[in-house]
């Protein structure tokens, strides 16, 4: 049982780390501000989520796990709100998103 | 080689301090100077904390047990630097607020926060 939990939590941690780095790459590589937000979204959901879930497996049934769960909840509430507020003020500031025409085929 | 890694922390901390120092003496903008002071300040905090660390040590909060194995951890880091720096941080932000308030007043009195312009206006009388 012990080794099973270890393997699962290890997997979560490693995959989460992978997604965090990919999100970071996205923040760096993507062409304009609005697309970069999607990169940040990856680190905030999958990266943070999987790493915290991996740690929860390590924590077992204890208050530590509860705290990790709360951190996850707070992150999942605040990070989209912050993103939304950020995008909204960028839009009102006059930063035009670069979009492809809807009719044009890919 | 062990010298390099053993003293690496001090060197980086000195580098940070000097960065802050450079901002304070080379930049004319008063807010930027306060930012430089802040960087210097945090570098000093880091210097103290570095000295308090003991190898194999753990945070000075009892009981020091490993979460998973339950084993007693061998040593505590030094609590004294923590105590000194803890109060210093809050005092630091209070004094920073005072400095910023002074800057706001300077802006209102002189219309600028660039050091050379303030001095020039003073010379004019």
């Amino acid at each position: 049982m012990e080794w099973f939990v270890n393997i699962v939590s290890g997997l979560c941690l490693v995959i989460g780390s992978l997604f965090a780095v990919i999100g970071g790459l996205g923040v760096l590589r993507l062409p304009d501000f609005y697309t970069r937000m999607h990169g940040a979204g990856i680190t905030d959901t999958m990266g943070a989520g999987l790493i915290l879930v991996g740690l929860m497996f390590q924590g077992g049934f204890s208050l530590v796990t509860v705290k990790l769960l709360m951190i996850l909840c707070v992150l999942l509430t605040t990070s989209p709100t912050a993103s939304h507020a950020l995008a909204k003020s960028a839009l009102h500031f006059g930063l035009e998103p670069r979009v492809v025409e809807k009719e044009a085929g890919s | 080689m062990s010298t390099v890694w053993g003293l690496y922390n001090y060197w980086i901390v000195i580098f940070l301090m000097m960065t802050g120092f450079y901002i304070v003496i080379a930049r004319r903008n008063l807010v930027k100077k306060v930012i430089g002071l802040n960087i210097f300040q945090i570098a000093v905090f880091l210097l103290y904390i570095t000295m308090g660390k003991v190898e194999e040590g753990t945070a000075p909060i009892l009981p020091a047990r490993d979460f998973q194995t339950g084993a007693e951890l061998p040593a505590y880091s030094n609590p004294l630097p923590s105590v000194l720096i803890l109060t210093a941080i809050v005092v630091g932000i209070a004094t920073t607020a005072l400095a910023l308030a002074l800057i706001v007043r300077i802006q209102e009195a002189y219309g600028t926060i660039e050091e050379d312009e303030i001095l020039a206006r003073d010379r004019e009388g």
Partner: protein
Amino acid sequence: MIVHSILRIVAKLLIPYILLFALYVQFHGDYGPGGGFQAGVIFAAGFVLYALIFGLGAARRSAPPAVVESLIAVGVLIFAGTGVVCMLGGGNFLDYSALDHHDPQHGQHLGILIVELGVGITVAAVMISVFFAFAGRGRIR
């Protein structure tokens, strides 16, 4: 007109928990990391969030500046007053063992708790009123 309803609702959800977290940090200073200094700053941060979302006027209505400014002094008085009570109890200034003659440990514990409370009140009040002072000052062109 409700413009930033998402921000407003999430702030409404979060503010009570930030304030509670500050109080938690305040009272658990003996057991884990934390204490008056940290708690005061976090409490003030909760108020700052309120002021940022709902405006300075609303924040001033819910925490009148006169009350906050007098709390600055109250915190210091609690701290120093504890010391005086210790002296009245026959000990030295700030020697909390004198707070409880039968059980000096309990006295120490109580003294630390009260003193931290004083620190927390002062820090929170100073930070809130400093923020009010900065934010309330209009710009001069």
